[in-house]
C-alpha cells in the first residue's frame, strides 16, 4: 500500500468529498499506475481516504491510500503530481504493509484559524481555557441544530497570526466551518471558511495523539 499526503487548496478546496473520491480515482488512473480493484460485482479501485473535509476548508494534510504494490512510492508521488488538477499536490508518500485505515483511526485535526487582531486571539484562547461548555448553531438537512461542542475542541493555542484549534475528527467530528460560524457570532472575528487551513491530523494511540505522518512512517 502507498499512502500519499496531499494538499487540498484553491480551487480544489471547493470540491466536495464525494467529488474528491471520484476525482482521485481519475488522478490515480492518469498516473498510469493502476491499483487493485475490489472483487465484487461492480469492481471499484481500492482507494482509502482520511476523513472528509468540509467544502471551502483548505488542507495541507489530506491522505489517500492506494492498494498498489511493486511501485516506487517516490515515482508514484511524482506521477500523481503530474496528474493533478489545480489545488491538489502530494507532499509525502509512505509505504505501509496494510491499509492504515485513516478514515477509522484519525481522531483529531489541527486547524489554523487566522485572526487579525491579537487581542481577539487572546480573548478567544482565554475563553476556551475557562469554559466547559460551548454551543454552536448550524443548519443540517434544512433545520437549525444547536450542539454543545466544547468536548470536541481538544486544544486551543495562540499562534502567530491566529489560533490553532485541535478538533475531534472522524467518527466523533466537529467541522471547522461550523465552529468558525460560532466564533464569528460570539467574538466577531472576520475570518472566512476559506481562510481556515487544516495543518495536521492525528491518530489516537495510548491515551494521546500521534501525528498521522509519524504513524504512517512506521509502515
Amino acid at each position: 500500500m502507498i499512502t500519499l499526503k496531499y494538499e487540498k487548496k484553491y480551487p480544489f478546496v471547493y470540491v466536495s468529498h464525494i467529488d474528491v473520491l471520484r476525482g482521485m480515482v481519475r488522478i490515480i488512473r492518469r498516473t498510469g499506475f493502476i491499483p487493485e480493484f475490489s472483487k465484487g460485482f461492480n469492481p471499484h479501485m481500492l482507494l482509502f481516504f482520511s476523513p472528509p473535509l468540509a467544502v471551502g476548508v483548505a488542507s495541507e494534510c489530506e491522505y489517500v491510500t492506494a492498494d498498489i504494490s511493486g511501485v516506487d512510492e517516490k515515482e508514484f508521488l511524482e506521477a500523481f503530481n503530474k496528474s493533478c488538477p489545480a489545488g491538489v499536490r502530494a507532499t509525502a508518500s509512505y509505504v505501509t504493509e496494510k491499509n492504515p485505515n485513516l478514515a477509522g483511526n484519525i481522531a483529531a485535526s489541527d486547524y489554523l484559524f487566522p485572526v487579525k487582531d491579537p487581542a481577539r486571539t487572546a480573548e478567544i484562547v482565554s475563553f476556551f481555557e475557562k469554559c466547559d461548555k460551548y454551543t454552536i448553531e448550524f443548519t443540517q438537512k434544512k433545520e437549525i441544530v444547536e450542539k454543545e461542542v466544547r468536548g470536541q475542541i481538544k486544544a486551543v493555542k495562540p499562534v502567530n497570526g491566529g489560533i490553532t484549534f485541535t478538533l475531534a475528527t472522524g467518527n466523533d467530528n466537529l467541522r471547522a466551518d461550523r465552529l468558525l460560524a460560532g466564533l464569528k457570532k460570539d467574538f466577531g472575528i472576520e475570518t472566512e471558511t476559506t481562510d481556515i487551513l487544516k495543518i495536521a491530523q492525528y491518530v489516537a494511540e495510548g491515551g494521546g495523539y500521534t501525528n498521522a505522518d509519524e504513524y504512517l512512517k512506521r509502515g
Binding site: P11, S16, D19, R26, I27, F37, V55, G56, C84, T193
Partner: protein
C-alpha cells in the same frame, strides 16, 4: 482586462456547487499566451450540462491549440450566483481567468436547444452587454451564435453579430482569425463583419441581402478532423461524466422527424484504427473510467463489431466500462450491448404502430422489436426503456393505443423467457415538433389541447398495466419549443419580452413559466398558432435563409412518401440522392446510386 477572482472568492461560500465557477480542471491549457486573441465560449445553461457537450470540448481544444488564441468558458450561473453577482454589481465573467465577457474580443454562444434562448439574454444581461447587435458599439465584443439551433437562426438572430451555420471545427478558427486580422488592422466592426461574411457557413444578419442563402459549413474529412483527446476533466459530477468517442458524423437512417439526421448528412466515418488511437489517448489523458460510443445511430457504424471487439480489449486492460447509448432496434446485437450489469436497454421505436413507423420512416417492424428484445431478455436484461412521440403526422388514436399494445407484448415476451425476475418497462412519450430541415418541416405542430387529449388517451391505455411506468413531456414546454424551432424573426422581441418578465432556465421544469411566454407573445400581438402552423409546399420558410445542402425538393418528396406511409431505404443500402452528395462524399458509398 480586469480579473474578478478577488471579487468571486467571498461569494463561493454562499452558493451551491461553487466548483462550477472556479475552473482549475485537469487539462486546462495555458491561458496566459502573450498578445493572444481572447475568445469566450458561452453555454447558456449550468456548468454540469455545458461541460457534457462534446462540441464545446472539441472547439475549446482546437482554439487553445492555436498559437495566438485563448479560448475560455462561461456557463449560465445558477440563480444563487446570479443574486450574488447582482448584489455585488459584478459582471458575468469567464471560468478560467475571471474576465468579464464584455472585455473579450469575441464571445460565442453554443445554442443547443430552443429552451435555452431566454438564457442567452440572461447571460448578456449579467454580462452588461446590450441584447441587440444594433445597440452594441465598437467597444463590445463581436457576438457569435453556433450550434444545432442555428438551423433556424431567425428567432434569435438580432442578438448576434454573426451566426455560424453548420459544423464549427474549421469554420470557427477561420472566423476568429478573420476577426483577429480585422482588429489588428483597425477595421470597424462592420468592415470585419463584411470580411467574415465571405467564410462558408457564416451568416451576418445585419448585412444579409434577401434571397441570399448561407450554405452550412461541413467537416469534409472527418478521419483527420481535430478531436478531443485531451478534454477538461471536471472536478464535480457532470451530466455525461465520461469519455466520448464519436464514430461518425451524419446518419443514413432517414427518420423523417429527425432534424439531426437530415441536417448532419452525409455520413463521414472514422476508421477503427483512428478511433482506437483516440480512445486510448483520451482514457490516458483524462482518467475517465467509462467511455461511451457516440453517434446518431452508433449501431449502424460500418465496423461496429470490429471496433467493439478491439475496444473491449482496451477497456479490459485499462479497466474501464464501455457504453453504447444510441441503438436502433434493427442494429441491436446482444454482443454489442455489453453493459456488464445487464440492467437496462434503451430503444426508440418512436411510434406505436407499424403504419406510423412507416410514415416516419423508422424502419423497424414489431417482429424485429420483439425479436431484439427477446434476445436481450435471454441475455439477462430486466429493464427496457422505450421512447415514443405523440402528435406525429397522420397519427390516429389507434396508433397511440398501439404503444400500450406494444408494451404489453414486450411484457409477455419477457415472461415467456424469465419467470423469476421483475421486469421494468419504462415508456417515455415526447410531443412531436416538426423541425426545420426535415421532411415534416411543412407540418403543423398539434395544438396544446390535442397534446393533452392524446396524453390522457395514453394514460388510459396504460392504466393497470403492471411493471410498466409511463412518463410524458409537458405540453406547455413542447409548445414553446415548437414555436422557437419553427418561428421567425418576430420572436426576437418575444424572447426579450419574456426574459424581462422573468423567463430563464426554461429547460428546467422548476424554472419554466408558461404564462410568461404566453403573455410575452400576447404583448407583442401574437399567439402560439402564429408560429406552429402548417406551411404549403411552395411557402417561403423562415429558415430558408440556410442552405442545409439537402435539397428542399428531396425533403418534399420524402414528406409526400411519408404521407403515403412509404419507406425510404437507409443511405447505407444505397445513395438516395438527397443532395448532400453534391457537397461532400459519404464515406460509406461516395455518392453511388
Amino acid at each position: 482586462m480586469k480579473n474578478y477572482e478577488k471579487e468571486l472568492l467571498p461569494l463561493l461560500g454562499e452558493v451551491e456547487k461553487p466548483a462550477r465557477y472556479t475552473g482549475g480542471e485537469f487539462n486546462t491549457p495555458d491561458m496566459n499566451k502573450p498578445d493572444a486573441f481572447n475568445f469566450c465560449i458561452c453555454f447558456p445553461d449550468v456548468y454540469e450540462i455545458g461541460m457534457s457537450n462534446l462540441g464545446i470540448s472539441i472547439l475549446y481544444q482546437i482554439l487553445n491549440s492555436m498559437p495566438d488564441m485563448v479560448c475560455e468558458r462561461c456557463f449560465a450561473p445558477w440563480t444563487d450566483m446570479e443574486r450574488k453577482l447582482r448584489e455585488n454589481n459584478l459582471p458575468l465573467f469567464s471560468v478560467e481567468r475571471k474576465i468579464a465577457l464584455k472585455d473579450f474580443d469575441a464571445v460565442g454562444f453554443s445554442v443547443q436547444y430552443e429552451m435555452l434562448y431566454s438564457n442567452i439574454l440572461y447571460m448578456l444581461d449579467l454580462a452588461k452587454i446590450p441584447f441587440y447587435a444594433k445597440d452594441r458599439g465598437e467597444e463590445y465584443p463581436i457576438l457569435i451564435a453556433g450550434g444545432p439551433c442555428t438551423v433556424n437562426p431567425e428567432p434569435f438572430k438580432k442578438f448576434f453579430d454573426i451566426v455560424e451555420v453548420g459544423e464549427g471545427e474549421y469554420m470557427l478558427p477561420e472566423l476568429l482569425e478573420e476577426i483577429k486580422r480585422g482588429k489588428e488592422r483597425g477595421l470597424s466592426k462592420t468592415e470585419i463583419l463584411e470580411n467574415c461574411k465571405k467564410i462558408e457557413g457564416i451568416y451576418v444578419p445585419s448585412l444579409h441581402v434577401k434571397g441570399e442563402k448561407v450554405k452550412k459549413a461541413m467537416v469534409r474529412d472527418f478521419e483527420n478532423a481535430p478531436d478531443a483527446t485531451r478534454p477538461l476533466v471536471p472536478n464535480i459530477e457532470i451530466v455525461h461524466d465520461r469519455a466520448c468517442l464519436e464514430l461518425y458524423l451524419g446518419c443514413g437512417s432517414g427518420c423523417r422527424f429527425c432534424q439531426a439526421g437530415f441536417y448532419n448528412r452525409g455520413i463521414r466515418e472514422r476508421s477503427v484504427s483512428k478511433l482506437l488511437k483516440t480512445a486510448t489517448e483520451t482514457i490516458e489523458n483524462t482518467g475517465f473510467d467509462e467511455m461511451s460510443l457516440s453517434s446518431l445511430s452508433t449501431g449502424d457504424y460500418s465496423h461496429i463489431k470490429e471496433l467493439v471487439e478491439k475496444l473491449k480489449i482496451v477497456a479490459d486492460e485499462k479497466r474501464i466500462k464501455l457504453s453504447l447509448p444510441s441503438l436502433r432496434l434493427s442494429s441491436f446485437d446482444g454482443a454489442l450491448a455489453m453493459n456488464s450489469r445487464k440492467s437496462s436497454l434503451t430503444f426508440a421505436p418512436e411510434a406505436g404502430s407499424e403504419r406510423l413507423r412507416d410514415v416516419i420512416n423508422k424502419n423497424v417492424t414489431e417482429e424485429e422489436i420483439l425479436s431484439a428484445l427477446k434476445e436481450a431478455f435471454a441475455d439477462g436484461y430486466t429493464s427496457v426503456k422505450l421512447y415514443f412521440m405523440l402528435g406525429l403526422p397522420t397519427e390516429t388514436d389507434d396508433d397511440i393505443r398501439g404503444i400500450g399494445v406494444l408494451a404489453e407484448k414486450i411484457r409477455r415476451t419477457y415472461f415467456e423467457i424469465a419467470h423469476n425476475k421483475k421486469l421494468n418497462v419504462s415508456v417515455s412519450c415526447s410531443v412531436f415538433i416538426p423541425k426545420p430541415v426535415t421532411p415534416f418541416q411543412w407540418c403543423a405542430q398539434i395544438s396544446m389541447e390535442e397534446m393533452e387529449r392524446k396524453q390522457q388517451l395514453l394514460r388510459d391505455t396504460f392504466k393497470g398495466m403492471k411493471g410498466v411506468s409511463l412518463s410524458w413531456h409537458d405540453a406547455t414546454t413542447s409548445a414553446v419549443e415548437g414555436i422557437f424551432a419553427r418561428g421567425d424573426e418576430r420572436l426576437n422581441e418575444v424572447i426579450e419580452e419574456a426574459y424581462l418578465s422573468g423567463a430563464k432556465f426554461d429547460g428546467w421544469s422548476e424554472c419554466f413559466n408558461f404564462d410568461v411566454w404566453i403573455n410575452a407573445l400576447k404583448k407583442k400581438g401574437y399567439t402560439i398558432g402564429d408560429f406552429n402552423k402548417e406551411f404549403k409546399e411552395n411557402d417561403e420558410l423562415p429558415w430558408d435563409v440556410i442552405d442545409p445542402c439537402v435539397d428542399k425538393s428531396y425533403l418534399w418528396r420524402e414528406h409526400e412518401k411519408g404521407m403515403r406511409a412509404e419507406r425510404t431505404r437507409n443511405c447505407r443500402e444505397g445513395c438516395n440522392l438527397c443532395g448532400i452528395q453534391k457537397t461532400t462524399k459519404c464515406t460509406i458509398c461516395g455518392g453511388r446510386k
